[in-house]
């Protein structure tokens, strides 16, 4: 009797024992394919539960197992251990091959986020086609970020939780080579000196009009 369990705990005015909380987190995470935020987990657990602590215990428990507990931004998910991928060939989802332009654009967004279309174009030296951005939006790997406080208030792009999940990243800070790139100054937005041709600078940024991105990059508070 599920309700009984809950009522019992509630009536005791105490959170369930940590082992029990761990079981609860386990059940919630096993039941869903998508990452679940700590807040969401806690909201489903009895009052007074400490999901963060329970998750820490659970993560240790699954170390070295066939299934892992992984962190995706501010959410958690169960995922099979990468070394066992070969067993799952039949589960493999055939993903459409991304064009070189799409891959580069994705990388630029991930490493430079929040980044405007004009900045992407400045880095790649060519204009970014609408199709490329649409494809990444469709995959839900990028989304609109806050507008930039520069003239024209262009929209920016940022990567999503789905992106982190897909590439097995805990946070955008875990992007490969991020630190080195930053140290080398290659992530700086260095404005070109006067008289430089603005390469690939397409039409104005107003193309993504209307999308006022809200309260974005909680994921990326740096």
């Amino acid at each position: 009797m599920p309700e009984d369990t809950e009522d019992e705990h509630e009536s005791l005015f105490a959170a369930p024992p940590m082992a029990e909380q761990e079981r609860m987190c386990e059940a919630i995470l096993f039941a869903t394919a998508e990452p679940v935020t700590v807040r969401e987990i806690e909201s489903r657990m009895p009052h007074g539960s400490d999901a963060a602590e329970a998750l820490a215990h659970l993560r240790r428990r699954y170390e070295g197992r066939g299934v892992h507990l992984v962190r995706v931004g501010d959410a958690w998910a169960m995922r099979t251990a990468p070394d066992l991928g070969f067993l799952m060939q039949r589960e493999t989802v055939e993903t459409r091959k991304l064009s070189r332009a799409a891959i580069e654009t994705l990388a630029i967004i991930a490493y430079h986020q929040p980044v405007t279309r004009a900045e992407i174009e400045e880095i790649r030296g060519v204009s970014v086609s609408r199709g490329t951005v649409d494809q990444l939006l469709e995959l839900e790997w990028i989304r609109f970020g806050r507008r930039k406080m520069t003239p024209g208030r262009p929209v920016t792009f940022v990567v999503t939780q789905g992106f982190l999940d897909h590439f097995g990243l805990e946070s955008p800070r875990d992007l490969p080579g991020l630190k080195e790139l930053r140290a080398a100054g290659l992530l700086e937005n260095r404005p070109p000196p006067d008289q430089m041709p603005s390469l690939g600078e397409g039409e104005d940024d107003a193309r993504e009009d209307g999308t006022d991105a809200k309260g974005q990059d909680e994921l990326f508070g740096e």
Partner: protein
């Protein structure tokens, strides 16, 4: 083939060095055949820079500029149409080249050739870095390919509950609204004997369409305002004022044959 000219031009411009061995020459040719495969001039420059086989930071921008210009020249001779981007870059590189070669003009305000070259080198290095980062990213273990999500997710039933909220302020405002209503004494009662200018105007506007002939203004007094002296006074005043307003608007003519004679009005056509 213009290969020979290309090489000569190149060496003339260059003085020494340049494309000397066969492999490099082949590479230069491949560039031209492949022009469609490049993602813009920066990409092309990056590829050319790579053939210099040195660290991008040490790449000679002057060398690169010459190589690029030679490429554009050859393409033109081969009647290969280049996108505007490539030509803009060519013009700019020609400018950069002259800046780098000529002694700096002290009266010139703009950035120096070195500064421009440094920025171009930065752009190339950054693009290269992003390419490498992209490759590293795509080489990672990926969801649905190397690791997997739950194959048999269970449904989470959603229970929707509506919670109504109200604040003490809402309550007070609600009550105040009702009490204010009680205290409010309708105004209309005091003004029973008044026929306002607005009312008169509205009435006249509806009626003047029928005033084809001279009619006494008193005929336009509203019903119920003709007997009681107080009301008649108010109605006469407002109707007269309304008539003046209509004259001003050019809708009617007014006339009075002599002092204290009846005032008459007629529609103006």
């Amino acid at each position: 083939m213009d290969e020979h000219d290309f090489e000569e031009d190149f060496e003339n411009a260059d003085g020494a060095g340049g494309v000397t061995n066969v492999a490099d020459r082949m590479a230069a040719e491949a560039l031209i055949v492949d022009v469609d495969g490049f993602e813009g001039p920066l990409d092309l420059l990056l590829t050319m820079g790579r053939t210099q086989k040195v660290d991008l930071r040490k790449v000679s921008i002057l060398e690169l500029a010459k190589q690029y210009l030679a490429f554009v020249e050859t393409a033109r001779e081969m009647r290969i149409e280049l996108a505007a981007d490539y030509l803009v870059m060519a013009a700019w590189l020609a400018f950069l080249k002259s800046r780098l070669l000529l002694p700096p003009d002290p009266t010139d305000e703009g950035p120096s050739g070195e500064e421009l070259a440094a920025h171009l080198a930065f752009q190339l290095e950054r693009l290269q870095a992003m390419r490498e980062a992209a490759a590293k990213l795509m080489a990672r273990d990926r969801l649905g390919q190397n690791f997997f999500a739950r194959g048999l997710p269970e449904d989470v039933t959603r229970l929707r509950r509506v919670r109504y909220i109200a604040t003490l302020l809402d309550l007070m405002q609600g009550y105040a609204r009702i009490r204010t209503r009680d205290e409010f004494r309708p105004y209309a009662m005091d003004r029973e004997a008044v026929f306002s200018l607005e009312q008169a105007l509205e009435r006249m506007r509806g009626l003047i369409g029928f005033a084809g002939t001279w009619t006494e203004i008193s005929a336009y007094l509203p019903e119920g305002f003709t007997t009681d002296p107080k009301r008649r006074r108010s109605a006469t005043a407002s109707t007269f004022a309304a008539a003046l307003e209509l004259v001003r608007e050019g809708r009617i003519d007014l006339r009075q044959s002599e002092t204290f004679a009846p005032i008459e009005l007629r529609r103006r056509d």
